[in-house]
Amino acid sequence: MIRSEILKEIAPILRDQLVVCNIGIPSQELHAIDDQPTNFYMLGTMGLASSIGLGLALTQPKTVIAIDGDGSVLTNLGTLPTIGNNAPDNFILMIVDNGSYGSTGDQPTYTGKKTDLAGMARAAGCDNVVEVQDVDTGAALQKAISEKKPTVMVVKCDSGNAKMPVITMDPVVIKDRFMKAVAAS
């Protein structure tokens, strides 16, 4: 499976949660598959989905799922110790690890070679790290939500992108809509 197929499959699960989605094609895919006010789309700033998600989880009680990529986590590796030492029970980091920089033409990342993101997360202090095959993502995500403990999921899948339109929504509208959804009871 490629990332867009996974997102299609887990869309009904994501719909009820706060989602911070990674820059580029991942946000475009999620936006096209199931746009929700509870989705925060990153339009720039590669690498910070996990940090934004962690800040959000620490400041309000709802479950937060940060959808990140292997390339983006590699560009902000300092996030793993911060998550490992601070993540609250309502934080899930889902790293879609397709071994490539999808938005820039599928150039390979080091996770397709010797680098093991799950091992790095564990070494950084993340206690609950699960490695998941693409087809098992929905069940693993549902379990992580139900367990209510900080979880890092590393979802192994194929490299590739769906052709989706660029998000044209204004960033302030994305944020305003999202903040109202966060504050709603």
Binding site: V20, F40, M42, L43, G44, T45, G47, L48, A49, S50, S51, I52, G53, L54, G55, L56, A57, L58, T59, Q60, N76, G78, T79, P81, T82, N86, P171, V172, I174, K175, F178, M179, V182, A183
Partner: protein, 168 residues
Amino acid sequence: MNIDKRIADDLVANGVSFVTTVPCKQLAGVIEEIDTRDDIFHIPSNKEDEGMGLCAGAHMGGQRPAIIMQNTALGVTINTLATLIQYYRMPLPMLISYRGELREPVACQVEMAVHTKALLAQLNIPTYHFHWQKDVEEFDNILKYTFMCNKPVAILTDANFWGGYGDQ
């Protein structure tokens, strides 16, 4: 006047409850002071752009964030300031130690000091420079201004403000 306590007092009085830091020798006292405050959640970050991501999340979670960092790291935050904090209109007070200014003992620090105000000006970030201890009296107004306009705002604090280094 204890400027560390004054800064922490002003943060609390303005409802700032989420502070991330990357340390600097000049900032050690204020970071220590923040750790004693029950009204502030302090989360150290490993890099300043990561810290700004945390602050963006805290803002959307309904809290008032702030970042405490050194000016030498401004370079690694340019993209984050432009495409996250400014693009999405987020308030972010940045209390920045202004290394490489008067009474600086380390020559290399001057190399980023000469670019600091130019970079902030290029980004149209409102910038204040604390040189005398009494300048801290402006901090409360700067915080109010930041959360009024939903922008990143820089407060540069040099060695003279912090009391210098020993005989320097």
